[in-house]
């Protein structure tokens, strides 16, 4: 088995971390998806060197790794911005305004789907744009994701303001999550290396609490454990 990846721009620390990911699993190949996330966190996309490094560690051919990398939409063959903006245009978000948000951002950034906006003079950060499928936040429609953090209940205007704040390098926080990190930093979390931001943001957003708040107001609860008819039959 190969132990030394071929000519690679990945440093020893990264190679060590790739091995560490593979070692989490009973069979090393299970580590491939998070390993590819780590490659992206270091190199900003799936690179030939990254594919070869994963292949060498897992004793696969580069073609086998490439075949996996091309299947999943989160793996990018070209660079994205420091902030990758995803606008949900699946049916519910599209109807609620996602189509309008995506159209406005394309126009404002002067790019098409899956492209990086030009870094203007004075911009300290870059943004890219993509339309995405349902991201499981439908009660916050229309939803925008930035580096896979929730930006809930957007409008075309709020989305334009947000991308401008991001390009200017201002701190922007998820509407129910942490201060946004860069796309590469987020990819590192997906590879299984926590970044210490877990305690930022609330327990739940407003919509998540809709039913619970009504239950609290009206004193509604699940049956108490004491009310469980464990020893005697229920009275109905």
């Amino acid at each position: 088995m190969n132990t030394q990846p071929r000519a690679s721009q990945l440093d020893d620390k990264t190679i060590g971390e790739l091995r560490e990911i593979a070692a989490r699993y009973p069979e090393a190949r299970s580590g491939l998806l998070p390993m590819l996330h780590l490659v992206q966190s270091v190199q900003g996309r799936i690179t030939p060197e990254g594919i070869e490094a994963c292949a060498a560690i897992l004793d696969l051919s580069p073609a086998e790794v490439n075949g996996v990398a091309t299947f999943y939409t989160m793996y990018k063959r070209h660079g994205v911005g420091d902030y990758h903006v995803g606008v949900c245009t699946n049916t519910l978000c599209a109807v609620m305004g996602g189509d309008a948000i995506f159209a406005r951002l394309k126009e404002h950034l002067d790019i098409g789907n899956d492209e990086v906006a030009v870094q203007r003079q004075g911009d300290s950060r870059t943004v890219s744009l993509e339309h995405i499928e349902c991201n499981a936040a439908c009660d916050y429609a229309p939803v925008v994701m930035v580096n896979w953090e929730f930006m809930d209940n957007q409008t075309p205007e709020s989305a334009v303001q947000m991308v401008e704040a991001l390009r200017a390098g201002h701190d922007v926080s998820s509407t129910r999550g942490p201060r946004l990190c860069t796309w590469k930093e987020a990819e590192r979390v997906l590879a299984g290396f926590p970044d210490g931001r877990v305690d930022e943001g609330p327990t739940a957003g407003t919509a998540s609490l809709a039913g619970l708040e009504i239950a609290r107001e009206r004193g509604w609860t699940a049956p108490g454990p004491s009310a469980a008819p464990a020893k005697e039959a229920a009275d109905d």
Binding site: Y72, V95, I132, E133, V198, L212, W220
Partner: protein, 436 residues
């Protein structure tokens, strides 16, 4: 008689730092673990069977029965895999659950793994939710530090390791065998069944795959008893479930209620359809469940009730659309989604979803003729039941159900020469526009 809403899994969501072990433990968290360890694994399976818990990921298969299919005389290791790949359009319950109360999932994983005699469990979370992954990673780390995971848990002699695994963007990985392929580091394409995962799943070993909400429901069942759970819900659909209201409703969000609640009751709680508008169509459980209309407001939202009107309870993802929404536009967009997410393994789905998009696009643009509707239904007929997995079946649901309920609206596109609707009227900010 139970209350209309029954917060169990959502009960911790309004707590300060609900994701912390200390918060969960204050509410009795990890006590169910000791109850379980005093029982034999088989007795835990029996308790979950007796509770009537059915899979909360959409299919509704009895959870305890699934566990009992694991052949304990098979010498290979057993595995538990949690399906946290929540991606079905409209479905948005597991994500807030893992964000706000990840420890109830972790405790459920431990008890469920103990029951099936697994010493290794995986939580496969879709990759596009970084903060949710942070919360689950931290919960697992806290559970290790507190001795709830690792070797000889609570002095029981039982060992369990849990790996949190991030996916990489593929709806198909919500299908359990495609998920296993992804977890083995391969393209996420479904496997032929049989053998079912209970016999040959992860690494060809006996494997249970359960939805997040199913596993998270286990601790309270073990702690409070099967009859406590069964006191909620209906005869064949027992217990509590999270109902997700989205779209044109005054107060969208998560409502945890006994199975069998109706959309009318839920809409009453949620303040109704947005003011000045009427319900036009809705999905009971995500885009793969056939559309329903206002005539179905009083259908009990349980597996039997929704099945009886020709749809499926699915994931209780109630997407509400009012009369401003063009059903053809809605269905075309879902169809484009299925086309994009088709894994390419089988011909009916790979080719069929492309055909469906072409036919629907023509109709939405007012081109073609009424015969195209029959051709569309014929295409659906060649996909439904002929695809390798449920993705192809699901792709046909919105089409055939929308033609059933709204045939005239399709025809209106033809007579109008295009879509007669104004999409601006459907947006969240419609009617609130201020002049620039």
């Amino acid at each position: 008689m139970t209350d209309p809403l029954t917060p169990v899994l959502t009960d911790l969501w309004d707590a300060e730092q609900g994701w912390k072990l200390a918060t969960y433990a204050d509410k009795g968290g990890y006590e169910a673990l000791d109850v379980a360890f005093k029982m034999s694994p088989d007795d835990v399976i029996t308790a979950v069977k007796d509770s009537g818990l059915r899979g909360r990921g959409g299919a509704g298969f009895p959870t305890g029965m699934k566990w009992s299919f694991i052949p304990q005389d098979n010498p290979k290791p057993k595995y538990l895999v949690v399906n946290a790949d929540e991606s079905e359009p409209g479905t948005c319950k597991d994500i807030p659950l893992m964000m706000g109360n990840p420890h109830v999932l972790v405790e459920g994983v431990i008890i469920s793994s103990y029951a099936i005699r697994a010493n290794k469990a995986f939580i496969y979370i879709r990759g596009e939710v970084v903060h949710v992954i942070r919360r689950v990673q931290a919960a697992v780390a806290e559970a290790y530090a507190a001795g709830h995971l690792g070797a000889n848990i609570h002095g029981s002699g039982y060992d369990l390791d849990v790996v949190v695994h991030a996916g990489a963007g593929a709806y198909i990985c919500g299908e359990e065998t495609a998920l296993l392929e992804g977890l083995e580091g391969r393209r996420g394409q479904p496997r032929l069944r049989p053998p079912f995962p209970a016999v040959a799943g992860l690494y060809a070993s006996p494997t249970v795959i359960n939805n997040v909400e199913s596993i998270a429901s286990v601790p309270a069942i073990v702690k409070n008893g099967a009859s406590w759970f069964g006191a909620m819900g209906t005869e064949k659909s027992k217990g509590h479930g999270i109902f997700s209201l989205s779209g044109h409703v005054m107060r969208p969000g998560q409502y945890e209620a006994p199975l069998g609640i109706t959309l009318r009751e839920l809409l009453d709680l949620a303040g109704g359809v947005r003011h000045g508008h009427q319900l036009k169509f809705w999905t009971p459980g995500g885009s793969s469940t056939p559309l329903l209309t206002a005539e179905h407001l009083d259908v009990p939202l349980d597996f039997e009730g929704v099945g009886a009107v020709g749809s499926m309870l699915g994931t209780r993802a109630l997407q509400i659309f009012d009369e401003t929404v063009c059903v053809v536009r809605a269905v075309l967009r879902w169809t484009e989604f299925y086309k994009h997410e088709s894994c390419g393994k089988c011909t009916p789905c790979r080719e069929g979803t492309w055909w469906l998009v072409q036919a629907l696009t023509r109709l939405e643009n007012g081109q073609g003729s009424e015969e195209d509707l029959d051709q569309l239904l014929d295409q659906c007929d060649n996909i439904l039941g002929r695809s390798f997995c449920a993705l192809g079946d699901g792709a046909t649901s919105p089409i055939s159900s929308s033609i059933q309920h709204f045939r005239d609206e399709y025809l209106a596109h033809l007579s109008h020469g295009g879509c007669p609707f104004d999409p601006a009227k459907s947006t969240a900010w419609a009617g609130q526009e201020v002049s620039a």
